[in-house]
């Protein structure tokens, strides 16, 4: 079974952790994740600038490790990321910003990538809100 997973909430929201646990369980169950798409505040999960308090789950770190280990496609909505100051090297240069807060394995791309993933997947699962 092929899953597309979309995440709409920031790294400190409980729903971000649920998305990660679901994704891990999907792969452990022998299923495939065609794409992880990070939209709206979900882009903060991909930010290198997030510093998580020591006694809390470090979701940006856990997502990065998971995506690297499983060689997944982690796509961050470019419009949502730019407006929240989450920029990769290319965008920082384009908009003359000092801070670069997004790097591989994350990829900035458009909403079309979510649409494309949904076409390819058997199920779209969205996480967000509380």
């Amino acid at each position: 079974m092929k899953f597309a997973i979309a995440l709409f909430s920031a790294a400190h929201a409980p729903s971000s952790r649920r998305a990660l646990l679901f994704a891990q369980a999907a792969l452990a169950g022998g299923h495939e994740i065609v794409r992880l798409f990070f939209y709206q505040d979900g882009v903060f999960n991909a930010s290198d600038a997030v510093v998580t308090p020591q006694d809390e789950q470090d979701l940006p770190k856990q997502w990065r490790a998971f995506i690297n280990e499983k060689q997944l496609d982690g796509v961050v909505c470019i419009a949502a990321a730019l407006r929240r100051g989450v920029l990769n090297e290319e965008e920082a240069k384009r908009y003359q910003r000092e801070a670069i807060s997004l790097s591989a394995p994350w990829e900035l791309s458009g909403l079309g990538q979510l649409h494309d993933a949904v076409q390819d997947a058997d199920r779209l699962i969205c996480f967000g809100g509380a």
Binding site: M1, F3, F8, P14, S15, R18, L21, F22, Q24, A25, A26, A28, G29, H31, D122, R123, L124, I125, C126, F127, G128, G129, A130
Partner: protein, 97 residues
């Protein structure tokens, strides 16, 4: 074609649960996660509403345990692997974001 409805907000903060129940199809199921598990707090309106509707109700067990919510025998506690299987069992998954 059935839908799994995933709720994560407290039933005391908004109308998601009642809106969801209003449009729930006969083959649909509801999964309570996060603060939505507070709907299973005994002696409350959400609790009796769910009990009376006799819907197919699932609860993410770690979210219930984290909030000391006991799961009644008319609901089923599930873990993440079961959540994945539940999402496959239904044609669509609708998250009430």
């Amino acid at each position: 074609m059935s839908t799994l409805h995933v709720l994560s907000h407290s039933p005391y903060g908004d109308d998601r649960l009642s809106s969801c129940l209003r449009l729930l199809g006969s083959a649909d199921a509801v999964l309570l996660s996060g603060d939505a598990v507070y709907a299973l707090q005994p002696d409350t309106v959400p609790f009796s509403t769910l009990q009376e509707r006799a819907i197919r109700l699932f609860v993410l067990i770690e979210d219930a345990q984290a909030r000391a919510i006991e799961i009644p025998d008319w609901a089923k506690a599930i873990d993440y692997p079961a959540f994945v299987e539940l999402s496959i069992h239904h044609a669509k998954v609708n998250s009430w974001l």
